[in-house]
Amino acid sequence: MNPYLPVLIVLLLGVGLGGILSGLAHFVGPRKPNRIKEEPFECGVPAVGEKDKMSVKFYLTAILFILFDIETVFLYLWAMTFRDLGWFGIAEIIVFLVVLFGGYIYVVKRGALEWD
């Protein structure tokens, strides 16, 4: 049996369950919409102003996340093969990490991780 068959089954069942829950909300239960009820919640006062633009910080966090995520992937590959690579492999990964740690120190020094 293909090991991905269960993955497909769970995917379908999971999406189905989510869809049923999401659909139940739509079809079961009363529907008496009115203008006030449909107002986006704002602590009981009329909504003021536009949606705020988000801080550039979030964007920076996402970019750094991608880069360090890729690093983690390499580390997983290395951890799997570390026994057979021996000291040479350790040296390899230390070089890799030193370069990236340089980048990390730059990030910290430039204050990119400060949330004010």
């Binding site: 991905y4 993955v7 949606k51 633009k53 988000m54 550039v56 979030f58 964007y59 920076l60 996402a62 970019i63 750094l64 996340f65 991608i66 880069l67 995520d69 890729i70 690093e71 992937v73 390499f74 997983y76 590959l77 290395w78 799997m80 093969t81 057979d84 690579l85 492999g89 390899e92 070089v95 890799f96 370069v99 990236l100 340089g102 980048g103 990390y104 730059y106 990030v107 430039r110 990119a112």
Partner: protein, 183 residues
């Protein structure tokens, strides 16, 4: 036979999702279809028994890069596309034409030669015997492709620095504006 059916299913899903990425008027909806697209691509890799690449495809592309796209869409606070009709500019037609020509050329080359069906020494069985897909990828990467791997660290480093430089510039500009606004 099954392999071909699976390929066809995923390939058509990918085609549909890709079309939706381009055609939907809302950028966030496009991003959702992009996630579906990349997910199906992972399915394609999985059907070729490239387990590691499939997992990484979901982890890095669907789970990280599209998150960044979504953040950017929200950062710019893009509304839905207001145009009533699809307008296609001259460069876009050019790109479309080039793509079609490219596909035709590839198809012609495939028809002329016999490049398909030739498997290298690393078949699925060979990989299983060598200790699994992830292990084999790791061994190849850390011995044969040692230099590209170390260069990848430099690439990530450059990307980190570039991201900070660009984002920080924006930040300073914002600060200036605020200072100006407050007099």
């Amino acid at each position: 036979m099954t392999q071909e059916l699976v390929f066809l299913a995923f390939a058509s899903l990918i085609a549909i999702c890709s079309m939706m990425v381009i055609l939907s008027r809302n950028a966030v909806v496009s991003a959702i279809f992009l996630v579906g697209d990349l997910f199906c691509l992972a399915g394609l890799y999985a059907s070729m028994e490239a387990h590691f690449v499939a997992a990484i495809q979901v982890l890095v592309y669907a789970g990280a890069i599209v998150v960044l796209f979504m953040f950017v869409i929200m950062l710019l606070n893009l509304g839905p596309d207001q145009r009533k009709h699809l307008e296609v500019s001259a460069p876009e037609i050019g790109v479309l034409g080039l793509t079609i020509v490219g596909f035709l050329v590839i198809g012609g080359l495939l028809l002329l030669g016999q490049p398909t069906g030739v498997t290298g020494p690393l078949t699925a069985e060979a990989i299983d015997n060598a200790g699994g897909n992830t292990y084999t990828v790791g061994m190849v990467l850390f011995t044969k492709y040692l230099w590209p791997f170390e260069l990848a660290s430099m690439l990530i480093l450059l990307a980190i620095i570039a991201a900070i430089v660009i984002a920080k510039k924006e930040h300073i500009k914002d600060g200036d504006k605020r200072r100006l606004a407050h007099g």
